[in-house]
């Protein structure tokens, strides 16, 4: 049995060297140090990766029960095959739907950009269809784990959509899976603009399924039911993806008005999503990914 406790044979010696209270103090200090480095400075990617290498086989084995449960029992082997086929087709359909939906907007935008700037190459969108494996088992954040990773070309920061709009962003990648942080995650920021008039702002996740549009002056023209789309100002998300619809505009509290919006996507409930990579025209000419 491959044990996860490689260090435990050393523990008894460690025991006798220090009193229990000293050991507690040392371990507490080490934990807090790890937490500060991880949460405050995000400095432990290498440590995480190193432990992940050892854990990956165990993790993959641990996903088996879930896969079995979702695919039905072995008794329904043929049904499982049909389901796999169906899933694949649905993924393709989703990709097509989205292409069709964004194509018109992209064409119009592209024509205008080319006219204004004399650009010769259009921006390219590369898409990767993914399937949600499960919610990340961490109750303090809203993340999904999807079935494509670095091997399929998923990269950090890429946008993840469903057929209705922006779902989230890729925040951690492994070779075979990647982790998507939902836009509803508390304090997750997305630069947006009001589709109607181009007013720009930033929406932040509130942690309760809603988003708040912040940093706008009270006189800014934002109305109920306005559609917020990505502005593309962060250089990661392609512009024009629907993000949320304004559901309440409160009169100014202090010097800012409080504007709450509801995401237009159903990402948390959809099984099939799309990762899209926005390859700006300049990079696309220099040499593709």
């Amino acid at each position: 049995m491959n044990s996860p406790l490689g260090a435990s044979p050393n523990v008894p010696r460690f025991h006798r060297a220090m009193s229990p209270t000293q050991r507690l103090g040392l371990a507490t200090l080490a934990s807090v140090l790890l937490l500060v480095l991880d949460l405050r400075f995000g400095a432990l990617g290498a440590v995480r990766d190193a432990v992940s290498v050892v854990l990956r086989p165990v993790q993959e084995a641990a996903h088996w029960p879930v896969k079995l449960a979702t695919n039905g029992s072995i008794y329904f082997a043929t049904l499982a095959e049909v389901q796999a086929e169906n899933a694949r087709l649905r993924r393709i359909e989703l990709e097509d739907q989205l292409r069709a939906a964004t194509l018109a907007a992209l064409e119009a935008e592209n024509a205008e950009l080319r006219r204004l700037l004399g650009m010769s190459k259009r921006a390219e969108l590369r898409t990767i269809g993914v399937e949600v494996l499960y919610d990340a088992p961490d109750p303090f954040s809203r993340r999904l784990v999807v079935d494509r990773g670095a091997n399929a070309g998923v990269r950090l920061g890429l946008a993840v959509l469903d057929a209705d709009g922006l779902v989230g962003q890729v925040t951690r990648i492994q070779p075979l899976v990647s982790e998507v942080t939902l836009i509803t995650q508390k304090d997750h920021a997305v630069p947006v603009m009001v589709q109607r008039n181009g007013v720009r702002g930033v929406v932040y996740g509130l942690g309760d399924g809603y988003l708040e549009l912040r940093h706008l002056l009270p006189e800014t023209d934002v109305r109920l039911d306005d559609l917020l789309v990505t502005s593309g100002l962060d250089g990661l998300l392609p512009p024009g993806i629907p993000v949320a619809r304004v559901v309440s505009v409160d009169a100014a509290v202090g010097s800012f008005s409080r504007i709450v919006a509801r995401p237009v996507s159903f990402g948390e409930r959809r099984r099939h999503l799309l990762v899209i990579e926005h390859v700006p025209a300049k990079e696309a000419t220099v040499g593709g990914p």
Binding site: S8, H15, S31, F140, V145
Partner: protein, 173 residues
């Protein structure tokens, strides 16, 4: 090795391999993505059991290593589970004499505050760092561990009883 309240039977010391195997199984269980908050945290339960029953082998160091591995495995903040488990083990071992004097349900009742503390510690760390509030049901994981405890501890003790009978001799002979 601490004695059970029942004097008619004698416990053998647990085998290190058995300790490792049960901890590994519990760890594996905790890595299965189950979706839902009332699933028991088996690593915490099994670790607590061995911390009480074999404090020479399983202590704060084991808790720390297991915690870090759980944090990586579940994509949580590195160190949160380690911090929590370290305190559970320490506090459980300090109260071991009193806790082991009780039967399964009494032990569960005495240990429940420690498990709740472990979850609260993790919640505190993550909320300070700007995480989402997971809702009160988050603490259900500790309650389910407590409900499972009598059965679990009986199960984990069983091989030691059997060993005593198979030898046909207690430690006094």
């Amino acid at each position: 090795m601490r004695e059970s309240p029942r004097p008619s039977r004698v416990l053998q010391p647990p085998r290190p391999r058995f300790i490792l195997t049960t901890l590994a199984l519990a760890f594996f269980w905790d890595l299965i993505p189950k979706g839902g908050v009332f699933w028991p945290e088996m690593s915490m339960a099994v670790l607590t059991f061995w911390a009480l029953r074999d404090p020479e082998r399983v202590g704060v160091g084991t808790a720390f290593v297991l915690g870090v591995m759980l944090d990586v495995g579940r994509g949580a903040a590195l160190g949160q589970e380690a911090l929590a488990l370290v305190w559970v083990v320490y506090l459980a071992q300090r109260r071991a004499a009193r806790i082991l004097w009780f039967g399964g349900w009494g032990q569960a009742l005495l240990l429940l505050p420690l498990w709740l503390l472990a979850l609260a510690l993790q919640a505190a760390v993550r909320l300070v760092a700007g995480g989402d509030w997971p809702g009160w049901s988050y603490f259900g994981a500790a309650v389910s561990v407590a409900l499972l405890w009598p059965m679990l501890s009986a199960l984990l003790l069983w091989p030691q009883w059997r060993a005593a009978r198979a030898d046909g001799a207690g430690p006094l002979s």
